[in-house]
């Protein structure tokens, strides 16, 4: 009931403000002293991020004495709030926007076009390719990426040592093939009667669907057409991948089901720490928590079918198309993409850099903090710079991607065959 009410009220307020549009006065927020106040809105992903936003803004205000930033972190439904504020003509000047919402908002002309600023003061080529692809809509830019995050394979070194196995490679050019990976996973699976006390691997079946795409790409398949308009998952390459992922559970019994991790009350890190799983595919951000725990952690690349592949995404910072202070808004957006702002989160293991500069050999020491990152992390960086692709969920039609996830879950649950899954996806996404 509460949800319905929220929706109804949102709609009403929005409807009222649409009719009132144009009547709203052009009162800016310049105060007496010539200080411009920028409204900035974000969400609270973790205490660490909130902290770094606050610290970052303090630095920004110091560098820009003419600008004050009023930051509002939103707990709860961020998109609904932003959408309503825009419809009500009272949106913040600058805001976070999730990568998979960025295009949906831009399509409705509510994001400030910052391409010209971008071309004058920054260079899109500074960013790693997958991040460029994320920001570019056609040849225009409406937001700057905060960072990058990608799925990687975490593992507990103790469990490998105990089994006398060598660690998963961190160099993508030396990645295990899928069969090699399954072999190791089998050796790391320990059973007690008909209960499995230690699983070899997990993390491939994530519900929101960001681990199957790199595997499909690794096998030469694709999720979307080049112009993102069609779902192209139905190929022999993807079928092989989906069968292989499901076989981890059904055939090899080396993986628990997806709810095992998501609904165990344990984080991925705790799963590894307590030895419930030996290898786990998870977002790179998990390193931040892992680094605070007391066990030897390793990071490797995902196994490959044919060639190395991973995906990346992460939220952007954008400005409202109707902001009264486009220049100041740009300054803030630009600051939020700078090392001054990013570096603390990167050094903490929460974010990965999104600029080529930081991935250069000589700059790695700036952020590969030995207290947090495993010692061989330097080997993995080309995984993100050269082998990283944009996560298709960012550019796909949202409904189409939901359908893919729904059909893939049905397949993982064992309710459909891979052919049925692909046929259903084709049929259901055809008219979107």
């Amino acid at each position: 009931m509460k949800k319905i009410l929220v929706v109804l009220i949102t709609l009403l307020l929005a409807a009222a403000s649409v009719t009132a549009e144009g009547k709203s006065d052009a009162k800016g927020s310049e105060s007496r002293s010539g200080v411009t106040t920028l409204k900035f809105m974000g969400w609270e992903a973790s205490p660490l991020e909130t902290e770094s936003v606050k610290n970052g803004l303090a630095v920004f205000e110091q560098q820009n004495p003419g600008i004050k930033v009023e930051y509002t972190p939103v707990a709860g439904d961020y998109v609904a709030k932003l959408l309503t504020m825009m419809a009500g003509d009272s949106a913040p000047d600058v805001f976070f926007i999730a990568a998979d919402q960025y295009r949906a908002f831009q399509k409705r002309n509510v994001l400030l076009d910052i391409t010209d600023h971008m071309n004058q003061e920054l260079n899109i080529d500074e960013f790693i390719p997958l991040v460029q692809e994320k920001m570019l809509i056609g040849d225009r830019v409406y937001g700057i990426s905060s960072c990058n995050v990608s799925p990687v394979m975490f593992y507990n070194k103790d469990l490998f040592d105990a089994a006398g196995l060598s660690y998963p490679p961190s160099d993508p050019d030396k990645a295990w093939t899928w069969d090699e990976f399954v072999d190791v996973a089998k050796k790391l699976t320990i059973t007690d009667g008909n209960r499995t006390t230690q699983f070899g691997a997990t993390g491939f079946e994530v519900a929101w669907g960001w681990v199957f795409p790199p595997m499909v790409m690794s096998n030469g398949g694709s999720v979307l057409s080049d112009d993102y308009s069609k779902v192209t998952l139905n190929s022999s390459q993807s079928k092989e991948v989906f069968n292989a992922i499901r076989d981890l559970r059904f055939k090899h019994h080396v993986a628990p089901d997806v709810a095992f991790v998501e609904q165990s009350g344990m984080s991925a890190a705790q799963m590894l720490q307590t030895g419930r799983v030996a290898m786990m595919v998870d977002g790179s951000w998990a390193l931040q928590q892992l680094a605070t725990m007391d066990f030897p952690i390793g990071i490797g690349v995902l196994p490959i079918f044919d060639k190395p592949a991973t995906v990346g995404q992460a939220h952007l910072h954008a400005a409202w198309a109707k902001t009264k202070h486009p220049e100041e808004a740009w300054k803030l957006i630009k600051f939020l993409s700078s090392e001054d702002y990013q570096l603390s989160n990167i050094r903490a293991g929460l974010w990965l850099p999104n600029r080529k500069e930081l991935y250069k050999e000589e700059n790695l020491s700036k952020w590969i903090n030995p207290d947090v990152y495993p010692e061989d992390f330097g080997n993995i960086v080309k995984y993100f710079t050269s082998y990283g692709k944009l996560w298709p969920g960012v550019v796909a039609n949202r409904e189409a991607y939901d359908i893919i996830n729904e059909e893939k879950d049905r397949f993982y649950a064992g309710d459909t065959s891979v052919d049925e899954m692909m046929a259903n996806i084709d049929k259901r996404t055809a008219n979107l």
């Binding site: 319905i4 609904a80 409705r108 089901d257 709810a259 949202r398 879950d409 649950a413």
Partner: protein
Amino acid sequence: MSMKKLAQSNNFWAFIFLAPNLLGFLAFLLIPVVASFGLSFVEWDLLSPMKWVGFKNYIGLFHDQVFLRVLWNTVYYTLGTVPVGIALSLLLAIALNKKLRGMKIYRALYFLPVISSYVAVAVVWQWLYNAEFGLLNYLLSLIGIRGPSWLSSTKWAMPAVMVTSIWKQLGFNMLLFLAGLQGIPSTYYEAAEIDGAGKWTQFSRITVPLLSSTTFFVVVMSIINSFQVFDQVFIMTEGGPARSTSVLVHYLYQNAFEYFKMGNASAIAYILFFLVFLITMLQMKFSDNWVIY
């Protein structure tokens, strides 16, 4: 009407005093409800101009495989939770209607889930349901059954959510029944006992009929609530796996804030409204047959 007359009119002052509440009701309930009826006939994403589409949203929904799925899921949830939930809470109310030492503590214990946050409840139940380490599957393993992975199975996720919901709401209905039970004069039971009526006869001939107005209220409210289910599925499963626990309000929400389809969302809200309205009307109509006031 002159000012003086107005100032003496009772109605005038009544409305003045009701105004704060009434304005709130108008602004946050009545007007949005009416407006969204209008919105169910347009195509609108909140940011672009509206486009009148007539009944297209409604027709589209009934051709939408996902909508039919979530509609069925909602009905399934209602069928699964309402009868069992009511039967259990009635039994519980009868058990807790005894005069025992510390009875108030038992009642409070059973009421505890009602006032607990759904988030906390959902997390605890997720642990119980965990396939490998959950208590439920551990108990099943003692009698030699290998339990499924409840919340990630397309067959079991919905029943699992239902059980949690029943457990959570048990205390509330129990309380209503308890109030009903205590409203039945004990003289009826004493008279029945003298006439030689057994416990079952007392229950079926005295308790059930005299409790029928409470039962009616509980049935109506339970059905309405279960059609509007959202929190528990959103927290426990987010509608998954494979939409097996996705319900009407969840899809309404997705349409509004994930797909930017406000017209569709409003249409779903109104389909839900008419469904609940129809069911409640039918219940009212047939209540004469079994409800005794």
